[in-house]
Amino acid sequence: MTQFLTILLDGTSYGMVLFIISVGLTVTMGLMRVVNLAHGAFAMIGGYIATVLVLKLGVPFLLATVLAAIAAGILGGLAEITVYRPLYRKGELPQVLLTIGLCFVAIAALTFFVGPTPLPAIVPAWLDQMVDIGFRLYPAYRLFLIVVGGLLAFIVWLIIERSLFGARLRAAVDDPQMARSVGMDVSRMFTITFVGGCALAGFGGAVGAGVLPLEPFYALRYLVYFLIVVAVGGMGSFRGSLVAALAIGIIDTAGRYTVPQFGGFLLYLLVFALLLWRPNGLLPPKSVA
């Protein structure tokens, strides 16, 4: 029982990190229909910036993560305007390659400035302790991740489901042609969404460094997880990405704890079967359902 609850908590905190990073990717892939393999790079940039701020300049942890999010958002906006825009009209292969190229450049640049060794996780003292949660002592950091993830999920939900911008966004994901023909400024919407998604990724990379350790190949190593969240949840589906991220977090954790000899094998097998069964994911938006 204790082990079951531990798996649930560990999986949920891990899933929340996946969610924070991937939710931007699901919206950009669903809305802009671009295969974006560079999304992990923005998470990595956020993580690196926050770590440097904390370790070299002594900036407080929370402030550092927010600054990292802002920086990742700005870089994301620049990238959207310069290299992503020409990409929307191209096929999947150019999209794949250009975004891999971006990944490479980001990896090279970060390594050049910060160094080729893995970075230590920046967990401040107030999170680096155990809390009694009734049945066992549990790391405060992981609880923090669950709370922050839940909070962000709620905020993103408010924006998407309750705001005018969100209504337009949903309309554009469901029917891009229609959105354009009723005179929405779709390209501005793309930029704003992209900035938001990258900022979230940067934030996720920074706060989640204790779960997804920062190292030079971070952008590629965890990319598969982010993409799986998107594909399993259904591209462009906010709820889908939350469900998928938590499910993947829990299943992956459970797999590693209970049948370590199979490791990630189980997860990929499930993803494979799921995509054969439902090619558009669990909760696809209307446009592809």
Binding site: V83, V96, L98, F104, T111, P116, L220, N280
Partner: protein, 336 residues
């Protein structure tokens, strides 16, 4: 008005020889020439040719067939592990090992292709990724067979045809790889010009059109995918036999990415694009990597962005443009 006749014309024009066909000899002449002058670089040359073979295999599936994949390393790695394990446990004859690895990878491509080629776009991309990841995890955990993350070592390969031993300088490996590459290249060259290859080019452009003329689209994609997988398997097997070690990295996402990068760098759907792309990639990696492993990542990443945004035909496309400009005519259809 005369009704349209449906009788095919009897006379089929004969293929005439054109001097420009002699260009096809160039890469092979170069490769043989390099063999004699490049002492100390035969290992590098072998490595380049293996990547060329791998990139050509991707060109068949992705370039000609339009099968969008980020998991081609699955077949490269499968071929490599199969050849290595076969040499250690069964028989260390190189040609036999090559054949077994090729068939194994081809079969794997056939089976997975049947499963996934109903889908398209991002879903297909994810499925290819998942297959490669599955194999990676399988190889990682089957330590008793693959050596896990230590890699598979202790591969010993008998002389080719019982005559030519693999020497320390890699000269035999060089010629061995060159011959295998040549055989596969000739096959690929014929395939893309055959009615089969043309129909795949049609599927890539417009599957609906091909269905309307009676093409069994799915079967044809599966066939091309299996062929391409077999070829990638050969490349992996060559890597195993010539370096005598197989690492998990042969199944990595990065490997799938790198081979796609090579292909697009050189230019897809022209076979020779893979030659140029792989050569430049490996050489840049070798030179820049000597300074810092991350400089080549920067150079390659930057090149990719520039190529995708400004030169869709890759380096071969640029060469074509220059040649045509020199000849004073516009760009003509690439595939004729």
């Amino acid at each position: 008005m005369t009704p349209i006749t449906q009788n095919p014309p009897a006379a089929v024009p004969a293929q005439s020889f054109r001097p420009s066909m002699l260009w096809h000899a160039l890469p092979w002449a170069l490769a043989i020439g390099i063999y004699f002058i490049a002492d100390g670089y035969h290992g590098l040359g072998t490595n380049i040719m293996i990547w060329i073979l791998f990139a050509v295999s991707l060109d068949l599936a992705l370039g000609y067939g339009g099968i969008i994949t980020l998991g081609h390393a699955a077949f490269f790695g499968a071929g490599a592990y199969c050849a290595g394990i076969f040499a250690i446990h069964v028989n260390n004859d190189p040609l036999l090992g090559l054949l077994v690895a090729t068939l194994f990878a081809g079969l794997l491509g056939f089976i997975t292709g049947m499963l996934i080629l109903h889908t398209r776009g991002e879903t297909l991309l994810m499925l290819t990724l998942a297959i490669a990841a599955l194999l990676y995890e399988a190889a990682n955990h089957a330590r008793w067979l693959t050596g896990g993350d230590d890699g598979l070592s202790g591969i010993r390969v008998a002389p080719v045809l019982g005559l030519f031993r693999f020497d320390l300088w890699g000269k035999t490996a060089y010629l061995y790889t060159l011959s295998v590459l040549f055989v596969w290249f000739v096959i690929a060259f014929f395939v893309v010009r055959s009615p089969f290859g043309r129909s795949l080019d049609g599927i890539r452009q417009n599957a609906k059109r091909m269905r309307a003329i009676g093409t069994p689209v799915w079967w044809r994609l599966v066939a091309m995918y299996a062929l391409s997988a077999a070829m990638a398997g050969t490349a992996g097997a060559l890597m195993a036999q010539t370096t005598r070690i197989v690492g998990l990295s042969s199944l990595e996402l990065l490997t799938s990415g790198v081979v796609a990068v090579m292909l697009v760098l050189g230019g897809e759907r022209r076979l020779y694009g893979a030659f140029i792309g792989a050569t430049i990639y490996v050489i840049v990696q070798d030179l820049a990597g000597a300074i810092s492993p991350f400089i080549w990542m920067f150079v390659i990443g930057f090149l990719l962005i520039v190529i995708v945004l400004f030169f869709e035909g890759g380096l071969m496309g640029i060469i074509d443009d220059v040649v045509n400009r020199l000849k004073g005519r516009g760009r003509k259809d690439q595939r004729s």
